[in-house]
Every structure is written in structure tokens, then in C-alpha cells.
Amino acid sequence: MTAGTENKMMKTIVFQLLDKEYAIEVDVVQSIEKLLLMTITRIPGVPDYVKGVINLRGMVTPIVDLRVRFDLPETGYDDNTRIIIVNLEDYDVGLIVDNANDVIDIPAGALESQPEVVGSVESEFVAGVAKIDKRLLVMLNLDHVLKPIRNGNSDDN
């Protein structure tokens, strides 16, 4: 990855999963919801990381649990658990995260390609890492994390 010469800032929303901090661009984030205020309707026959759908102000929005998506141990949801609603090109998806409470500007040059090993997160999900002060932020590649589910039912396999 080439370091940008100009000092362009990228605004990101930072959230936590387990003990790590992740970042996604603020442009794709539509809103952040408190999970405990939402009722999730389970959808049968889809991968287990798709927790179901919620009624987001009249829109039926699918919800993905990022812990399960990244093969992290599942814990119960608590008061801090948040759903980050992201708008991708063709669809909206809600991401369940442990906590979301920071907005950070990342200089374009600070983004580096990921080291060989970044925890247990599969590398295709990671767009890069940025070190801001003492914090290490993992930038996610949402297009890979949220690939459309096709024929998600087990009968087809």
C-alpha cells in the first residue's frame, strides 16, 4: 500500500469486538441502534451469523452478528451491544457489535496493509490496519464481510 502524500483524513466509526477495535468508514453508516430495544425475527435456513431481521423504522433489515461471522466466542447481548446499520451499494445490513462509541479521523497515509496475522479474523475481511496513538484499528472490507447469501438453505448443499 502506498502512503498518500496529502494529509487527507478519513472519518471512521470505531467499534469493539472482544478486545479488539475495528473501524468502518462513516459514509456507509446509516445509524447506530441499541440492540436491546430491537426485536430480532429469526430467519430459518440461513448461515448462523445471520441472526434474523429487524424492523428498522419500517424497513426490514437483516442483522449479522460480527462475532459469529469472525468465529469469535459468542456471549450474551447486554446494554452496550449495538447494531450498526450500514448502507452498501445494493442493500442495508445491521452489524451486531459489542460496543460502538468513538469516531476517529484516520489520515489516509496511516492505513497499512495488514500484518500476516491479525488475530483470528480472516484476512479477506480486512482492508488494512491503522495505528492511531496507541490504538490499533482494523479497517474492515465490508463487501467481503457481507457477501449476499444465496441458497442459504442446507437442502441445496
Binding site: 425475527t41 429469526r42 430467519i43 435456513g45 431481521v53 426490514v60 433489515t61 457481507l146 441458497n151 442459504g152
Partner: protein
């Protein structure tokens, strides 16, 4: 000139004009002597020419211009209508259509029209100069009519009195430029100026015709005013796109009234129906009297009470309206459940009232989105004509019920499947004339396209009096392709055999033709229709013809469902696929070859436990009595086992979005009164 802002309008209108052209051409083919039709086509072509020239699409303008010349020659009886001429004109209009579509898709609308232009030129040149002169002059007489206005007694009185009181009375003839884009708007601007200046007594053509742009380029207005002619003229000439405006004092031709009427009587048989209406000026005494008496307020609106006032609304806005209304339906459900809990009589009353009103509103909004199937059907006559020519068959397409209305979302999808079906009927259904003769049928085959409402559905039927489905041939092929086994083949009813042609990988035409039969087709039709929540069936009698029946839901956005509960989860089953609900005893369940079935009114119906399919978990102990919903897909039934029924409800269909593509046995979701999402069961996926 920046024409972008007009592009949409141009596209819309050119399509309308081309459609009019096509319809009239087909009409002309049936009545080649009716010059009225030629006039109609001429008018459409003329407008198109003007529009395209303004927009800078020269090829379109060029082609329409030549077309217009030929039509003009026909109109003036210089040449007579033959099928060769019509073919060329048809082809021209088809090319025009292609060019317009090209523009719509972002192209330049350029196309080589050279050969067509040459052909049109040749036709035009092949004129027979004799006998044309007289009629041409007569035609001229008709068209120059506006100059010699005829006043009735009342108008004369009004004008004379006004002149006595010091007003001037003028005849004002306005000629619009050939390329005038918005004729009605220009007319309106002229009228606005005139109404400020004085009182309009009379117009020719009538105001209604002017507003509908049913005039060539010129119109005449009779005005009483205090201003003088020069002022008026200079004011009017400020309106753009005017060629010229002539002002003359009114001169009565009262004496000539009889003669004029007589002249018209002579002319009328030759003139077009429309022309006659336009020029003869059907008396509108009531309006005129109003206009004359109510001096203070110019009563132009009195004359403009056209029967159907419409506005064009962008479809996106309707979609937004629909979305907002869907929100309202959800909240209505919520309010109803709150009211039911609180048991407050005033709240109940208000809620009920709101429910009723929103019900009416729902009907109106749904109706607004309704489009007559005509918009799909209107391209078929031309298509069938072309197909019949290509295949050397004689086919008469009858369309019944084109005014039947369907939701726009359904209309958008239904076009292609119908094209497939019609092609199939024309190609495989109707036999060649020789074959028909030998069978003792009339040479001309009839294909009937019928649309009608029934209950909550719209039916579209396509019937042909052709060969019908050949049982032997279909079975042979089906066995060859492994669609059925030989053993099973013997047990199939004729109807079941006919329906085999809808299965994928099937094509019975012995030789593949251009028109249809590439092995895809009818199965695509079937799946498209089923994805719309519809259903297709075939009835066929060998040697007598076939009937394809397509059943479609009226609308796709708000549907009636039955809510069912399974281990605290709520699912919705569309009412359209439910036959009935039942409660069965455990002992009634039979086991047939790995499949649990029940005997339902003498029919063996497979039992499908929805709780297993949707992994909701089963009740701890198997219950003695099971609630089942009997659903169907075509002829096939299935009994879905659920925990309990909640009830029937109108719901708003929402898609699961693009992230969750093709989830098994679910067709979408909806939001219930309590704000929760419920999933909609796709019964078609559960029945093999």
C-alpha cells in the same frame, strides 16, 4: 439549444404518436379507403417530425418527413393504399420506434434510413396525376375553412351590440411554427393575452380541440375588445414559436351561412370524421351564451370541461406515496391492537373510523397504480401481423378486455411472458393455411387474447383454434428428455400431458424456427408468472386448439395472509394459496413410502411439518390434534402443520432485501401491528 429538459417529454410523446401510428396503420389495412385514418396517421407523423427536428434527431425527422409525403399523397388520392405501401410504412414506423428506443437508452437515435427513404420516395413518385386535382382542391377547401368563419345568430348579436358600444371586433388568425413543441401552451399564452384585452367570442377549432392539440398549426379567435388591432398584434407576437398573427375586423358572412353549410355538406363525405368535427364546429350555445353574458369573468373554462382531466405523475412519486401509505397501514395495525387492549370506547370509535378511512385511501392509492393491460397488449397486433407474414400464415388476433386494470408492478413483468405465449401460439398452435384447409377449418386462424377480473385476481387468457397439443408427440419427447418415465406417461391425463410443455427443456416443434422453440420459453413463462404470485394452466383439445390461462394477483404490495404461530414465532401464509384450514387427529395421519400423508376430502395430501422446515423446534409432546393449513400450487396440494392459527390480516409485502437472496421457502417479510417482523411463507417452494 439545450434540449435535455425536453428529452423525457419528447420520448413519451413520440412513443404515444408512434403507437397511434401503428394502431391507425392496422386500422387502415382493414379499411384502405378510409382517408380519415390516413389523416390521423399524417397528424401523428407530422407532430413527430416537428418534435424530432426540434430535438435535433435528423434521421427521425427525415424519415417521418418522407412518410408524411407518402401519407399526404394517399390523403390527396394521388396514390392508393396497397399492402406493399403499408409494408414500407410499417417498416418505417418500426425503424422510428427503434430509433426512439435507442435515444431512450442513451443512444444518438441515428440509424441508416437511406433505403427506407428511397422506397418511400419511389412510392411517392409513383403517383397518378389524373383525378387528383379536383380532390386536392376540395381538400384545400376543407383546410382553409378557418378563414371563412361562420357566425350564428347569437354571436352576430353579441358582436353587433359590442360594436355599438364602442368595442372592436376582430378575427385573429394565429399560425404556429411547424416545430412548435407545446402547441397547447402557446394557445394558452395567446388566450391569456386576449382575455386580458377583451372578450373571446368564438374560436375555430373549438377550445377543446385547441387544448388537446387537435389542430394543425393555425387557429382563429374572434375577440371583442377596446384595444386597437396594432397593439393587440404586437402583444401577441411576443409569444414565442408563433409564425404570424393576422388581425382583421370581423366581417359577417351571414348571407353565406347557408352556402357554407351546403359546401360543407358536399365536403363532409370526403373529409375525415375528425376533420368534420373540427371544421363544422358543433354548436355549443350554452357555453357561448355564458361567455357572452358573464362579462366580468371570462368563461373560457366553461368550454374546457373536457370529459377526462388527467395529469401525468412521475411513477416515483406514486411509489413514495405507496411507501408512506404502507407505513400508515402498519401503524393502523398497531393502533388497532392498542385500542383492543385499552377498551376505551372513544379510542375504539376513532380507531374504527381511521381504519375505514385508510381502507378507502388504500383503494384509491392502489387504483392510482392500476394501469390498463392495454399498455402491454397494444404492441401485439403488430407483432402478430409480422409473425404471420414471416411464417406465411393467416392469423387474426382478437383482443378482448384490454381495459382490464392491473397493478403497474405486475404490468411491468407480464409483457415478456405474454410475448412468449403469443409467439408460441402463432408458431406452434395455428397451422399453415394449407393444413387448415385440409382439416376443414377456415384458412385464417384466430388467436384470442382475453383479460378479465375475477375476485382478487386478473385472468389473461390466450386461446387459439390451432392444432392443440399432440399427446403422442409431447409424451414421446417428454420421455426422451427424461421429464416423465414411460410407466408414468400412460397414467397422465390429457391436461397433465399438456402441462408438460411448460416444463424446462421442452420444445415440440420438429424444426426450430426463428420465432420460438429454442427449448427455453414456456418454462421461463411459467417461472416468471409464478414469481409474480400467479399461476398458469393449459387446456388443449387436439385438432381444436389450446387455451393458456394466466392467473395474476391484482397487486403485489398489499396482500391478505393468514397468520400462524409456531413455537412463539409468527409466520404469514398468503391467502391466495390457502384452500382451507383444518384440525386433524394424530390417527388420521397415514404413512406412505417415507412420506406422511392425510386423506383430505378423498384426496391424498402430503403432510409438511412447517416446524421442521423452519427449525422452530417441535412441541415437547406430539399433540393429538394438529392444526393444518391446506395450500395448493396449481393442482397439487399440501397440508402444512403449524402450532396454531392467529387469524387473517392485510399486510404490506416487504422484500428481505438483496443481502438475503433466495432464502428457502420464504417469499418476503412484513411488519406486524406490534412492530415485529413476520416472515411470509412461499407455498410454491414447499410443493413439488
Amino acid at each position: 439549444m439545450d434540449t435535455d429538459q425536453y428529452l423525457e417529454m419528447f420520448l413519451e410523446e413520440s412513443k404515444e404518436h408512434l403507437q397511434a401510428c401503428n394502431e391507425q396503420l392496422l386500422e387502415l389495412e382493414k379499411n384502405p379507403d378510409d382517408l380519415g385514418i390516413v389523416n390521423e396517421i399524417f397528424r401523428a407523423a407530422h407532430t413527430l417530425k416537428g418534435m424530432s427536428a426540434t430535438m435535433g434527431y435528423e434521421d427521425i425527422a427525415n424519415l417521418t418527413h418522407k412518410m408524411e409525403n407518402v401519407l399526404d399523397a394517399i390523403r390527396n388520392s394521388k396514390i392508393s393504399v396497397t399492402s406493399e405501401i403499408l409494408d414500407v410504412v410499417f417498416e418505417s414506423s418500426e425503424t422510428l420506434e427503434e430509433m426512439v428506443i435507442d435515444i431512450e437508452e442513451g443512444g444518438t437515435g441515428k440509424k441508416d434510413v437511406g433505403s427506407l427513404v428511397t422506397m418511400l420516395n419511389q412510392i411517392e413518385a409513383g403517383k397518378s396525376p389524373t383525378a387528383a386535382a379536383e380532390q386536392a382542391s376540395e381538400e384545400k377547401a376543407v383546410h382553409s375553412q378557418p378563414e371563412g368563419l361562420v357566425y350564428d345568430d347569437f354571436e352576430q348579436t353579441v358582436i353587433t351590440q359590442s360594436i355599438d358600444q364602442g368595442f372592436h371586433a376582430y378575427e385573429l388568425t394565429v399560425t404556429l411554427r411547424d416545430d412548435c413543441l407545446l402547441k397547447a401552451a402557446r394557445v394558452f399564452m395567446v388566450f391569456e393575452i386576449l382575455e386580458k384585452a377583451g372578450e373571446i367570442i368564438k374560436t375555430s377549432p373549438t377550445v377543446e380541440h385547441l387544448e388537446n392539440e387537435e389542430f394543425d398549426n393555425r387557429f382563429t379567435v374572434v375577440l371583442v375588445t377596446k384595444e386597437d388591432a396594432g397593439d393587440l398584434q404586437s402583444k401577441i407576437q411576443k409569444v414565442s414559436e408563433l409564425e404570424k398573427a393576422d388581425i382583421q375586423p370581423v366581417q359577417f358572412q351571414s348571407a353565406s351561412r347557408e352556402t357554407a353549410a351546403a359546401a360543407e355538406a358536399v365536403v363532409t363525405p370526403e373529409a375525415s370524421k375528425d376533420g368534420a368535427v373540427e371544421e363544422n364546429e358543433p354548436a355549443q350555445p350554452a357555453d357561448k351564451k355564458k361567455a357572452g353574458k358573464a362579462e366580468a369573468s371570462p368563461k373560457r373554462s366553461g368550454a374546457s370541461h373536457s370529459a377526462n382531466k388527467t395529469i401525468r405523475v412521475n411513477i416515483d412519486r406514486l411509489d413514495v406515496l405507496m411507501n408512506l401509505f404502507e407505513e400508515l397501514v402498519i401503524d393502523r395495525g398497531r393502533l388497532q391492537s392498542i385500542a383492543a387492549e385499552l377498551q376505551n370506547s372513544e379510542l375504539n370509535e376513532t380507531t374504527e373510523r381511521m381504519t375505514r378511512i385508510s381502507g378507502d385511501l388504500q383503494n384509491i392509492i392502489l387504483n392510482m397504480r392500476m394501469v390498463p393491460v392495454e399498455t402491454v397488449f397494444n404492441r401485439f397486433p403488430k407483432m402478430v401481423r409480422q409473425l404471420a407474414r414471416d411464417l406465411d400464415k393467416k392469423i387474426n388476433l382478437e383482443i378482448i378486455g384490454a381495459e382490464t386494470e392491473l397493478d403497474r408492478t405486475v404490468i411491468d413483468e407480464i409483457g415478456d411472458p405474454l410475448v412468449h405465449l403469443i409467439r408460441n401460439a402463432v408458431d406452434h398452435g395455428v397451422e399453415s393455411p394449407a393444413e387448415r384447409r385440409s382439416k376443414g377449418k377456415p384458412e385464417e386462424g384466430t388467436v384470442t387474447l382475453r383479460a378479465y377480473h375475477s375476485g382478487n385476481h386478473v385472468f389473461i387468457e390466450l386461446e387459439d383454434d390451432g392444432a392443440g397439443v399432440n399427446r403422442e408427440r409431447v409424451l414421446k419427447k417428454a420421455i426422451e428428455r427424461g421429464i416423465v418415465t414411460e410407466d408414468a406417461a400412460d397414467t397422465l391425463t390429457d391436461k397433465q400431458v399438456a402441462e408438460l410443455i411448460l416444463s424446462s427443456g421442452f420444445s415440440t416443434a420438429e424444426k426450430l424456427t426463428d420465432v420460438s422453440g429454442r427449448g427455453v420459453g414456456l418454462d421461463v413463462v411459467k417461472s416468471t408468472i409464478e414469481s409474480l404470485g400467479g399461476h398458469i394452466s393449459i387446456d388443449s383439445k387436439e385438432g381444436e386448439g389450446s387455451l393458456f390461462q394466466v392467473q395474476l394477483p391484482l397487486t403485489l404490495s398489499i396482500i391478505s395472509v393468514m397468520l400462524v404461530e409456531m413455537q412463539k414465532e409468527v409466520f404469514a401464509v398468503p391467502l391466495s394459496s390457502i384452500i382451507e384450514t383444518a384440525i386433524i387427529h394424530r390417527d388420521d395421519i397415514l404413512n406412505a413410502h417415507n412420506q406422511r400423508v392425510i386423506d383430505f376430502r378423498g384426496k391424498i395430501v402430503p403432510l409438511v411439518d412447517l416446524r421442521e422446515i423452519f427449525h422452530t423446534g417441535l412441541p415437547e409432546e406430539e399433540e393429538d390434534y394438529k392444526s393444518v393449513v391446506i395450500v395448493r400450487k396449481g393442482e397439487n396440494l399440501a397440508a402444512l402443520v403449524v402450532d396454531s392459527f392467529i387469524g387473517q390480516q392485510e399486510i404490506v409485502l416487504k422484500s428481505l432485501g438483496n443481502y438475503l437472496q433466495s432464502v428457502f421457502a420464504l417469499s418476503g417479510a412484513t411488519i406486524l401491528g406490534n412492530g415485529q417482523v413476520a416472515l411470509i411463507v412461499d407455498c410454491n417452494a414447499l410443493i413439488k
